[in-house]
Amino acid sequence: MGLYLIARIADERIALPAGEIGSVVEVDGVAAVPRVPPHVAGLFALRSRVLTVIDTRTSLELGAIDREALSTAVIVEHEGHSYALLVDEVEDVIEAGLPESCPALLPASWRRAARGTIRHGDDAILLIDPATLVAGPEPIAA
């Protein structure tokens, strides 16, 4: 069993491992950063810490969105840096079983980011690895 945070990205319900999440915040006044990969939306100060804001739709290659419209972000730590992952909205925190393997017919971008699926009631929800969102559309290893 594990705790998962259910959020929406591009109208898709996704799950994030709750253990890797610091908090959920409202962001506004994101300072844009020039000359960086497109999935980096900018910088945001939260309680005197500087967070790097990630446009998760671009990370998942789901097309650009109006960043101004998004204000909810999930805070994660990755390799010593804090990131704010922009999401459409945060729905709930649920308890679910261990993730199962992904369905076969998944678009490539989702497949790269998914660690598996979790069962919640009758729904199967994709479990997303925050690190792949941080890394952006091009795998860093490439």
């Binding site: 300072a31 950063v33 000359r35 980096v40 005197s48 790097t52 840096h81």
Partner: protein, 782 residues
């Protein structure tokens, strides 16, 4: 259980390494003086500890090595064996091996086992094997400093308990202050008591910051401890004798900075031994002691650490450097001719210029001083060089105390703010008039600043924030490696101390940012990587700054280029640009007050310093270096405002002083400095190579040596005492007795009493008379 052994292993590795670093110097010192019981004891304790821990941690190889070293050292302690060079070398080889094995242990690697036996065998009476082991150890040492590959990044640190106590006490105070503030907020008390509580909290935070910063500090000793060993091995290899003096090991520096300085410093030391210090026979031939002297010292000066490395070797011949630079196509002969001695010396920092006549195994592969300078500049430091051929060389590294808090300038372009490290900024100029202008050449912007052409990077366009490059201000930046460029910005906002943190990898990968920071307005800001921008904008070799040829232009009458600046008392003043040799930033505490006047060391010589108000006691002091072609004075200012063509007429001041008068400029009055007054006060002295040479005939007379010679020196003469080798034509001889034989020069005679019998002589305390007579003779002789 497994976890606990791992922990123990990590502790063991950290502890062994720490002791090894400290021990390197001890062993060399022990070799120099084998009778030194205290040193022998500390080496013995080390191998003994290693042996003990190894047995417990089940590390048989380390145990065997340390055990055999312990046995031999025990024999030495009990007096049954006397330490000779072979024995010391064998012990050194064992300790090196322990170090290698420790590194391998941390990296989880295996080292070939065969050599262990060899090393242990060398410990037992066989001198030949010891010599062989020594060579192999040296070979290893040589590779080590260049590539310590296995060293992990995350290293544990040891802190004094006292410091931890201070931190804990600070946290308690903060909690109390927080509680009080919370209570006030709950009860809605008056704002004044909330303010008091807030003040207290702020104070706590400040103290905590200091304490935390101290935990990051480490004594520079750790860096210096490895040097005796490096010097010993290298000197042995090169067949040179070197006496190393290390000073200031107790200076504290950010741990990270120490790591960053390690390689450049080692490189400088190796250079000094390889190229600087001569072989013993060579030194004897030129009358120097056989053992060369290498002195390394560190001291704190304001918020910088100064590390000086000096040797008494052959120094660097700037003219030879210039010839090589011309040969390598780095400068033209014309440019070289216009260079000062120190500028010529600085050429050794140019990439692709190695002054070694032949490539040796130690240094001189063409990767050298340019890398040293690049590394030091990367951490916001500077490198200065001074050298007298035949006398030695001194390199001064200045580095900031810490990497995390840096003074920065805030600029903006396209509505976005950026910070620029203050250490990378040469000057701020506004393109206006003839002295500073921007031209478009082949689609690229080029700035002409007082005759020097610099490539321009427009920040707004570079960052993709604006379409059109229309910089209103230029920030002249040093990109490292002596390269400069002008960054075009829209506005300059503030100068503040910023706490800089590393940015996320995705940002750092862009190569143009050095970190993130949060200024007071709590809107995140990026610190620019000055060298990275230069590389990304390909401000390259093709656009190297080139001296612009003076263009013959029809000069508008009476339009004089003038540097406008804000003085320390807040008044806007101007000075003729032709007099300004440089604008320099110096540590505020380098100004000294002596003999009723302020002096500032510039170019190794004390220069008179003027200021309109009290000087700041800390931080940096900005001075104008003014020169009339001979004498030099410094004038402290607040900041440079602009360079303009001044056409107005001067309304002269009524009294003589630093202000010559007032000129109307742009509808406002500007006070002009009076160069005549400033230079009159400057010591006419500071003799240079062209000054007339004055021979003092009575070298044995203390008065002539101690009173007369300094007076002549202060009056601008070069002085030589009779009996010293005469290198140049003597212009005039001063004597209280007879004139020396064989010197063809006019003679000025001095007498001991005011009224003397000889009408041609001058009373020896008649300063004016003496100087007048000297002037007449020198003028007559020419």
């Amino acid at each position: 259980m497994g976890v606990r052994v791992d922990d123990l292993l990590t502790d063991f590795i950290a502890e062994t390494r720490e002791t090894l670093e400290a021990l390197a110097g001890e062993i060399v010192a022990w070799e120099a003086d084998p009778e030194d019981r205290a040193r022998l004891d500390s080496i013995f304790r080390f191998v003994h500890t290693v042996k003990g821990s190894c047995g417990f941690l089940d590390l048989p190889r380390l145990q065997r090595l340390s055990h055999s070293a312990e046995d031999v050292l025990a024999e030495v302690r009990s007096g049954t064996r006397t330490p000779d060079a072979a024995l010391v070398s064998a012990v050194l080889a064992i300790i090196d091996r322990i170090g290698e094995l420790t590194d391998a242990l941390e990296a989880n690697e295996e080292l070939p086992e065969g050599e262990d036996e060899f090393l242990i065998a060398a410990l037992v009476h066989n001198a030949a094997a010891a010599a062989a082991a020594e060579t192999s150890a040296i070979a290893k040492v040589n590779v080590m400093p260049a590539a310590p590959p296995t060293r992990g990044v995350s290293r544990s640190i040891r802190l004094p308990v006292e410091l931890l106590d201070r931190l804990m006490a600070g946290v308690s105070d903060m909690v109390l202050a927080r509680n009080e503030l919370a209570r006030l907020l709950r009860t809605g008390e008056t704002s004044s008591s909330a303010e008091v509580a807030f003040e207290r909290l702020s104070l706590c935070v400040g103290e905590m910051r200091d304490a935390i910063t101290r935990t990051r500090m480490s004594r520079i000793e750790g860096l210096f401890a490895a040097l005796p060993r490096v010097v010993r091995d290298l000197a042995g290899e090169l067949g040179k004798t070197v006496k190393l003096e290390v000073d200031g090991g107790d200076v504290e520096l950010d741990r990270e900075m120490i790591e960053m300085i390690r390689d450049p410093l080692t490189h400088i030391v190796r250079n000094a031994l390889d190229h600087g210090i001569e072989k013993p026979e060579e030194r004897k031939a030129v009358g120097k002691p056989e053992a060369g002297r290498l002195r390394i010292g560190a001291r704190q000066s304001a918020n910088q650490i100064l590390i000086e490395v000096s040797d008494d070797g052959r120094g660097i011949d700037a003219d030879r450097v210039v010839r090589k630079a011309i040969g390598a196509g780095l400068v033209t002969a014309e440019q070289a001719a216009a260079m000062s001695w120190s500028r010529k010396l600085e050429l050794i920092f140019e990439p692709g210029l190695s002054t070694a006549e032949k490539v040796t195994g130690v240094s001189g592969r063409g990767v050298g001083m340019d890398v040293v300078r690049a590394n030091i500049e990367r951490i916001g430091g500077t490198v200065d060089i001074e050298s007298t051929p035949g006398q030695g060389l001194r390199l001064s590294l200045r580095v900031p105390l810490t990497l995390t808090i840096i003074p920065a300038l805030t600029v903006s372009a396209g509505g976005t703010h950026f910070a620029i490290p203050r250490s990378a900024i040469d000057e701020l100029v506004r393109p206006k008039g003839d002295q500073v202008r921007i031209e478009r050449i082949g689609g690229e912007l080029v700035a002409f600043i007082r005759g020097v052409r610099l490539p321009v990077v427009d920040l707004g366009r570079f960052m993709g924030l604006t379409d059109e490059a229309r910089p209103s201000l230029l920030v002249v930046l040093r990109a490292g490696g002596g390269e400069r460029y002008a960054l075009g910005v829209e506005a300059v906002h503030d100068h503040e101390e910023l706490v800089v943190k590393p940015a996320a990898p995705a940002l750092m990968a862009s190569g143009v940012y050095a970190g993130t920071t949060l200024p007071d307005n709590s809107r995140p800001m990026l610190l620019l990587d000055v060298a990275g921008i230069a590389a990304a904008a390909s401000v390259g070799v093709a656009q190297q700054p080139v001296e612009e040829r003076p263009i013959n232009k029809r000069r508008v009458k009476a339009a004089l280029p003038t540097l406008l600046f804000r003085d320390l008392d807040g008044v806007m003043r101007g000075v003729r640009l032709a007099l300004v040799e440089r604008i320099e930033d110096v540590p505020a505490d380098s100004a000294v007050e002596t003999g009723g006047m302020r002096m500032l060391p510039l170019q190794g010589r004390l220069t008179k310093l003027y200021s309109a108000a009290d000087l700041p006691q800390t931080g940096r002091l900005r001075v104008l270096r003014l020169s009339d072609g001979g004498a030099m004075v410094a004038y402290a200012i607040d900041q440079v405002l602009d360079v303009v063509e001044m056409r107005g007429e001067l309304a002269p001041a009524q009294v003589a002083g630093p202000i010559a008068g007032v000129v109307l400029h742009d509808g406002g009055p500007v006070e002009m400095l009076d160069p005549f007054w400033l230079f009159t006060g400057a010591a006419p002295g500071s003799a240079n190579d062209d000054s007339p040479l004055c021979l003092v005939a009575d070298a044995d007379d203390p008065w002539a040596r101690e009173v007369l010679a300094p007076l002549l020196g202060a009056a601008g003469y070069r002085v030589t005492l009779a009996g010293e080798p005469i290198e140049d034509r003597v212009s005039v001889v001063v004597t209280t007795g007879g004139a020396p034989e064989g010197v063809d020069a006019p003679v000025v005679r001095l007498r001991g009493t005011p009224d003397g019998a000889d009408p041609d002589s001058i009373y020896r305390y008649d300063r004016d008379g003496l100087l007048r007579a000297l002037r007449q003779h020198v003028a007559g002789g020419k």
